[in-house]
Structures are given as C-alpha cells and as structure tokens.
Amino acid sequence: MIQVEGLTKIFKDKKRGKVVAINNLKFECQKGQIFGLLGPNGAGKTTTLRILATMMVPTQGKAEVNGFDVVKDANKVRRHIGFLSSETGLYDRFTPRETVKFFGRINGIEDKIIEKRMAEIFRNLDMEDFQDVRVNKLSTGMKQKLSIARSIIHNPPILILDEPTVGLDIITARTVIEYVKKFKEEGKCIIYSTHIMREAEKLCDVIAIIHQGNIIAKGTLEELKKNSLSDDLEEIFFGLINQGENLK
C-alpha cells in the first residue's frame, strides 16, 4: 500500500548549507503490516513521514500511497491516510466530540457517518466519560486518545505515525501501542517511526534502521538478527552504525 523508491530530500539550510535529510530511501509496506522506521534523532524519520503525508515534496524519488503519487495526487493520498505525530496538537478550546466532528467534516465525511463512527471510536478508546470536556482540561493520556480518534475518524486504510509515544508516560505510551496493534488487526497499513528499540521490537513486522538519512538495514526482526552477530536489537543497531562509520 505504501511504495517508496529512491526517495531523497535535501534542505537548503541558511547556516548549514545543503542538508541531505534522507537519501535514496526504498521500502514498502503492505496491508495489515506495521513498518517501523527506527533511528536516532535527526535520522530523517519525520522528513520521510511528512513526504508520505503530502506535507513536503521530495527532492528526488517517488512515493506512492494506496496507488497514488504523493506529489501529483496529493489530495487523493490525504483521503487515505491518518497522520499522527508527537508534534501534532489539538485545539484547546474544543471538546473531543467537537474536535472529532470537525476533522470528520474537513475530511469530507457526512455528519451521519461521523456520528456513527465517533460513537464507535469513543467506545473503543474508552473516551465516553470525557467526550464533552474541553481539551485543555484533559490529561495527557486523554489527549493522546483524542489525537488517535481524530486521525482515524475518516477510517483511513493507512496510518502514518511519527513517534506517537514521545513525551508520554509509560501507561499512556502502552495504551497507544495497544491501539496500534489493534489497528493492524483491523487490516490497516501502518508506518511507525520511533527511536525506541523495545517499541520497534514489540510492534513492527518489518524494521528499517535509518541513520543520517540512509536505511542501513531492513527486514523482520528475525532477519536482522540472522544477518548480524547479535540477538539484541540494540546491539545490532550499534553494530550497524559502527560499520557505517568505519566504511567512511
């Protein structure tokens, strides 16, 4: 459902000059699969996901989401994705009901369908108790549930999640991970970025390790283990990074 080929993004930064944020990325993600982008800060995860979510245009290469080109058919791509990142915020002065309704509407969903789906989502995410409380009065956990609800109200087959657990306490983070698993079971195609090894291990069917804009290894956890000397993802990760440094 997601296909990426030769994806490259170069920023022209005033201070640093040309910054190659991602370089010649190639990967794909199927229905019912969680694809993990694992890498440290500045590796290029956010840039990749922003391109997939049509917020940025790649300098080179091609990305297709559900068969649509992210540049030429941006609008159609948007119809099929739900986007959530650690940086996406919520409107403080609206209630969860109002928020979800608004996002349903701006995604072109009819009110009747919104009401039906909203009730279902609120039940599943256990949000009914606070559905009419303004966002600024909600706890971090409640807010993150709302962020999830907001991003799936139009029932997108593809979810783009950029470090959705950053800044959350362990309980909330766990809840988020539970829901991501549930979405996978529902058959959604999920691309999930993180810098936390344990999360990638627990959640992802395929892991791409990204470092300084390059994918330095890709495969299922088993494949990654097989190709390296270690059984531990963290060891594999640092092994690969050191290999890369030595090659330079």
Partner: protein
C-alpha cells in the same frame, strides 16, 4: 474551492476565538463595560468636585480696604465672598488653602481714580487650585463691574454717551448645521479611531490563527485533510475580518456610551446632535469592508510567515506603528488632497471617512479607495496562500 469548506474553517476559528477569555475581555468587557464605567467615574468625580467648589464661598483677604471703600462694598454685597479680617501670614494661608485669594489695594488707589488715572490692584491666587480659580473669577467679575461704573462716570463727566467707546458692533451668525458641527468634530477623530480599532481587533486573532496554530502543532492536522490551502487561508481570513469588524463596532459603541455617560453626568453636551444619515453610514461601511479585509489579510500573511507567536508580534509592531502614523497624518488638518493619495491604503479610507462625515460624497475617491484596498487585500490573500504551500515557511525550525 468550496464555500462549505471555507465555512467549516471560518466557524471553527470563530468558535475557538470566542471561547478564548482574552477575546471576550478585549472585545466586550473593555469597550462596553470598562470605558463607560471609567468615563462615568471621571465625569462623576469631576462634577462632584466642581459642584463643591462652585457652591463654597471664597475666603479672601483684602489689604488696604480703606483706600477703596466703594469697591469693598461690592465685595461685601456678594454672598459667595467672605472677607476675612486677618492681616498676618496671608501668603502661607493662601498656600495651605485657608484663603483662596488675596487682594492688595495700594494707598494711592482712591487718588488715582479720582484724578482720572488707573488704579492698580494686585490679586494673588493659586491657579492650580480649583477653589482659588473660582475666587479669582468672582473677584474679576466684581472688578469688571466696578470698572464699568467708573468708565460711565468719566464719560458722563465729559458729556459723552456709552456708545462713544463702542463704535463698532459685529454680529456673527454661524450657519453650520448641527450635522456639520457634529461631523467636523467626528471627522477629526473617528477615522483614526476606526482604523486603530480595526487593527487592534484583527491583530491578536490573526496571529493566534496562524503563528499560534504553527506553535501548537495543529497546522499539520489541517494540511493532511481534504481542505485546500486556499480554503484554509480564506476561512481564517474571513474569521479575522469578522472579529476585527465586530471589535471595531463594539469599540465605537463603547466609546460612544462612555462619552455620552461621562458627558451627561458632567452637564450634558449642548446641542450635539449626531446627524449622520443612513446613506452616509452605508457608504462608510462600504469603504470599511475592504479596509477590514486589507488589515486582516496582511496580518494573516505575516502570521503565516512567522515561526511563532512571538516572532509574529515583532513583525506586526512596525506595521502597527505605520498604521498609527498614517492615522495621525490623516488627522492633521490642512493637507492638500491629491487623487494619488487615495491609492495609499489606510490613508485613503481615513480621508474618505472624513469627507463622508463632513457630508461630502466624492464618488471618484470612494471608488479609488474601495478598489485600491480590495486589490491589495487580494494580493495579501494570494501571497498568504502561496506561503501556506511553501514547506520552508510551514516547517521552519
């Protein structure tokens, strides 16, 4: 472009803004409650103070009363004046307010008057004290009266009539209508007030809806939706226009209320009829609309460009100064209006308001102003939309 989408954004921004307590305070509480209360309070205390000093009798000291018995009789005859019989420390008594004025009559006074000369009187008072000023006024009136009498006496000595010293009498008639008087008073201040109120009304909301949305990270959620960038920009701009316009109207209403309540307590504004016709009001609104649009579009553009609220505010400060500057220029009297001036935004609206309030309708000025402001607002909107599609602007770090 779909109006349904624009309306979705418009309504969302409007509801969000109205739910912001700061908006309510700035839009409703301050103009509609605070201004009138403030002016009423000021008017009330003014009146209270002036009533007290008008009613109170003035205590004065007269030195050398024996040299002008005639004049002193006048003083004694006045109910509001009390002559104190103290001779020492008059200046310190004047300073601490025990007496309100000291009159000194020199010993040669009577002689000078009788000889047809000028008798010099010295009046000491404190111009910073309301009571002392009132005493000064009362003493002056009495002296004027006495002076008139002496003049008449002298004239009759010479066998002359009173008209001899008033050979010319000029009778003036002011033909200005109440509408024009009210207009010229309003014409000076109102355009400036309107412009400032529009700008202030738009400022906070425009920044909140653009740079604020960037700062809170909600902008990405809009960008991934089915709504186009142009629709987002238009929806936001219309919301800012609405808020700006409403706060301008409420601001004017509040100031009018404040003025009326303050003035009525302080004694009423005599004969001030606000004679503005419906036609004039309609034309004012016609000129206002593009101005509101212009202010909103420019502020939205700046807000989109800025990284965060703080940066936006620092960009807006010079624009605000420029607006005030143009407003002040438009207030200053005696500027020769050329038709090119009506191409300058803000300045043009201010001049047209002035003309309308004075009862003049110059269609070429109105049309030039309307078109110039609309076109510039349009450009600002297009530029906002362009900025809104630029990732360098949306994701500047």
């Amino acid at each position: 472009m779909s109006w349904k989408n624009i309306r979705l954004i418009f309504v969302k921004e409007l509801v969000g803004t109205i739910r912001d307590r700061r908006t309510i305070i700035a839009m409703i509480i301050i103009p509609l409650i605070f201004y009138p209360l403030l002016f009423t309070g000021i008017g009330y205390f003014n009146k209270l103070g002036s009533m007290k000093s008008e009613e109170a009798t003035s205590n004065i000291i007269i030195y050398g009363a024996e040299f002008a018995p005639q004049l002193v009789k006048y003083f004694q005859g006045n109910e509001k004046i009390e002559i104190l019989n103290i001779k020492e420390n008059s200046s310190s008594k004047l300073e601490n307010g025990d007496v309100q004025a000291v009159l000194e009559i020199p010993s040669d006074f009577k002689y000078k008057i009788e000889q047809g000369g000028a008798g010099v009187l010295i009046l000491k008072y404190d111009a910073t004290e309301a009571k002392s000023r009132i005493a000064q006024k009362r003493i002056n009136q009495i002296i004027e009266k006495y002076k008139g009498e002496i003049v008449l006496q002298r004239l009759s000595h010479l066998g002359l009539k009173e008209e001899f010293i008033t050979p010319l009498i000029l009778k003036e008639e002011n033909i200005a209508t109440a509408e024009k008087i009210a207009g010229s008073f309003l014409a000076v201040l109102l355009p400036y007030l309107i412009i400032i109120l529009i700008f202030i009304g738009a400022m906070h909301t425009a920044v909140d809806l653009t740079a604020g949305e960037k700062e809170r990270g909600t902008i990405a959620t809009l960008l991934v939706s089915q709504i186009s960038r142009l629709e987002i920009v238009l929806g936001k701009c219309f919301a800012v226009m609405f808020i700006s316009f409403t706060s301008m109207v409420l601001g004017l209403l509040g100031l009018t209320l404040a003025f009326l309540s303050g003035a009525s307590i302080a004694g009423g504004i005599e004969g001030a009829k606000f004679g503005i016709s419906i036609n004039t009001i309609f034309l004012i609104f016609l000129v206002l609309l593009p101005l509101v649009g212009l202010a909103s579009a420019v502020l939205v553009m700046v807000g989109i460009f800025a990284r965060n609220i703080r940066e936006a505010s620092s960009y807006i400060t010079p624009i605000y100064m420029l607006t005030i500057f143009l407003g002040i220029i438009s207030i200053s009297q005696g500027i020769e209006l050329t038709s090119k001036m009506f191409l300058v935004p803000v300045l043009n609206s201010s001049f047209v308001f002035k003309e309308l309030l004075m009862g003049k309708i110059c269609w070429d000025h109105i049309i030039t102003t309307f078109s110039a402001n609309t076109i510039i607002a349009g450009f600002a909107l297009l530029e906002s939309t362009r900025l809104f599609t630029k990732e360098e602007v949306l994701f500047r770090s």
